[in-house]
Structures are given as C-alpha cells and as structure tokens.
Symmetry: C3
Subunit: 173 residues, 3 copies
C-alpha cells in the first residue's frame, strides 16, 4: 500500500515514538520527523534531546508547534514517511492560543489528512484513563484529546495502541 495513515496511541513512556520510528525504518522511505514540542524549559529540552538521539541522522526534522495541517501538506510525499510526535503537545500548544486559533488548527489538521500521499504516523498520548483532574484546564485538555482521538481514529487506516512497547491493533482497514 502506498498511502497509509496510522494513529499510534499509548501512555507516557509506552514506546509509542519508538514504534513509529520502527514503522518508518520498515517503510524504507525517506523520513520526515515533525516535532511539535518546543524546549520551553530544561526538562522539556532533555526530553526532546533524548528522543532526537534515537533517530537516524539522515531523517529530516521539522519543528512545528501549531500549524500542523499545513506542515503535513507541505511535507507529505508518496516516497516519504512522516512522523508527527506528538499530537498531545500540539494540542497543548494550540489550546494555549485561544479557542479561535484552536478550532482553526484542529479543522486544518483533520482536513489535511484526507488524501495525503505516503505513510503518515500520528503519535498521541492517551491521557483520559486516570482520575478526573481537579483543574478545569486539565479537564478541558482531557476532553479535547479524547474527541481528537475519536475523530482521528475514524479517518485513519490503522489505529495502534502501544503498552510496554508492545503494539496492539485497534483498527486496520
């Protein structure tokens, strides 16, 4: 199959990124890594650097914290594998821009995914399986993450759940 849209879900440190990277290597395609996190503090810098170390040096890294739909349309190509890592950080970033920008970017992302060429791996954190957070912003985030995952799962060809580094197929068609 030449075009494949994959959603990869899992908890923190579940091996989601590693799994996306293994799919990219197996595809044999030129890989573009779209990083949505930005090094706002030292902890985040360390996390980003750690992820970067694992990646092959010939991969192209693109940093795009907000305009993700646009980045996907710019970089997608039949001969490429794109990894978006991760949607959770992107969601954080666009929610912080206010509702109008959030809805614009959310729509742009979902629209961009229809008919994109090549292999696209979307990595996202499952955050809704703990106790409901006290903080209203955190509850909003959990809600939006859950709805986004549902909308993406409908569009994607394959949805994979990763736990302890082990991929489980939730949808494949």
């Amino acid at each position: 199959m030449e075009s494949l849209l994959i959603l990869i879900l899992g908890g923190a440190r579940s091996g989601k990124s590693r799994y996306a990277e293994s799919l990219a290597l197996a595809s044999g395609k030129k890989t573009v890594y779209i990083a949505t996190g930005w090094a706002g503090d030292e902890e985040m810098s360390t996390r980003i650097a750690r992820h970067r170390e694992h990646r092959p040096p010939d991969w192209l890294t693109v940093e795009e914290p907000c305009a993700l739909g646009n980045a996907l349309q710019t970089h997608a190509d039949l001969n490429r594998c794109l990894i978006v890592d991760c949607l959770t950080l992107w969601l954080c970033n666009v929610l912080a821009q206010g509702d109008e920008r959030f809805h614009q970017e959310r729509t742009a992302l979902l629209d961009s995914l229809h008919g994109l060429p090549g292999t696209i791996c979307l990595v996202s954190n499952e955050v809704g399986l703990g106790i409901v957070p006290d903080n209203p912003l955190a509850r909003r985030f959990v809600d939006e993450a859950g709805w986004l995952h549902q909308d993406l799962a409908r569009i994607c060809d394959r949805v994979v759940w990763v736990a302890a580094g082990l991929p489980q197929i939730l949808k494949d068609m």
Copy 2:
C-alpha cells in the same frame, strides 16, 4: 439473544456513551436512558446537555443519581434496551452518602443485575491507570471503581473496552 448484560469501559471522551447508543439503536428496542449525573454546576449541565443532544428524541430519559438497582428493576423489560450512563457518576454520588448507603446501593445494584430481562448497557469510566492520587478520597474512589468493575465484569455477559471510539471485546459469553 433476548437478554444481554454489557459493561462498557473506557477513558474520558473515549466514545463509551456513543458506543452504548449505537448498541441501543442496533437492538431495535425501545430505549430507556438512565442518567446518573445531576447538573450540580454549569460545567456538568453543559456535559449533560451535550450528551442529551446526541440521543434520539423518542428515547425515555430517567434521572437516577443513587437508587440505580431499583431503577434497573423498574425499567428493565424484554423489549427494552436500558443504558446506564454512567456508573462512575453513580459511584461518586453514593460514596458521598456515607458508607452505609454506599454498601446498600452497591449490593442492590449487583443483586438487581441477576436475571434482568432485555438489553442492559452499563457505561463506566476507567480511572485507575494514572498516577495514584494524593487525595485519600480520590484513592478511595479509584479503589471502589476498580472493585466495582471487577464484580460487574464477572456478572456481565460481555465486557467492552472503548478507546478512541473503537470497541475491543474483553469478554463475550
């Protein structure tokens, strides 16, 4: 099959309610929606209103925050599908009434489920997969939710896990 008891588990915004609703529609039966939440604040009112919008207008809605076993026995019928949405809110409500009432209602719920006629869909949030909460009340809630799910899973004919709107069968017999 004329009688079927289904437990539907999943995280926040995982598509659990939507899945229960699709089962009700597929059953072709008259559906009674047993809502356990009550609109204590504006956020909760919004959440309840949003759920209500998705439901077909000919469904009967019954609001029952505590006496759930009783409500199930009152409304269950071979020609009906009952949806309880959700057990997590019910658990919150009965725990707030003190231990005696909680144990009464918990026992009444489990007892009511044996031999109920028709299709019964019990929707509940998985809350025990995050970090252990600091707050002792939250830890109690996580414990009770987990034990309730185990007890219900033993009784139910089918247990379904929903993630990103995609149902996974955990038990079917």
Copy 3:
C-alpha cells in the same frame, strides 16, 4: 513449560494480584510471595492485610522493598512459582534511595531475570495513562515506570494486561 517469566500489567484494583495468584495456584508449584510494600502508614497496612487475606496459608511470604534482583535469585527454583507484588512499590522505594542505588537495583533486577528457573510473575501498575502530573517527582516516576515496563516486556515470555479482572495477552512466546 518449566520456566516462564510473566509480566502482569494493569491499573489500580484491576485484578492484577488476583490474576497472578490464580496462575500460581494453576501451576501447582510451591508459591513464594515477594511483597515489596511496607506498612509505612495505616492505609498501607490495611492494603497489605487485605492482599494477605486472599493468599493460601501455605504460601511463603518474603518482604523485600529494595533488593529485588537478589531476592529473585535467592528464591527462584524450578519447582516454585514466585510472585512479585508489586514492581510499582519497589520502584517507589528504590527511587527514594537516590539515583545511584536506583540504577544499581534496576540493573540487578533486569540481570537477575535472565535464566531464572521456575515460574515468575511480576505484577506492576500502569500509571502513565492519565494527565501528566504537575509534580516533577511524579513525572519522574511515570517515566521510570514506563521505561521499566518496556525493558521487562522485552525480556518476559508473556505480558498480560488485566482490566476489570479480565486478562488480555499482549505478548506470548
């Protein structure tokens, strides 16, 4: 099969310990229960006592909060089933000892698992599926738990996810 290394993952009160105990009973082997928790406060004492009640009286209980690799090597035997309950508490304990001790014990644990005789059931809590905690120590804990699970899953013969008391096989070989 005479030697079998099993990782049992699940949320709080998901039935993980109960499942490990059922495997031990089914093995027909002499069972050694390695408890990693210590009764630091009343709540913890109650939790430990509740777990202990469920266990057959002829099982040997060993309390080992930190030196787990050593305990496994001491007690493993072809005719025995060992249950470690649980790795999450052990991780808490060794992280509290500082980075040097943590890395020593982590390495000792992973090293000990290669070629252990008998049936070994490692029980651990999945904690990374909720919202990212505010507290840096809690984030560290979530990270280390996730990485530990990935490393263990690679070594183990079988990995089982328990939800609502229902085991799901993630890996079996």
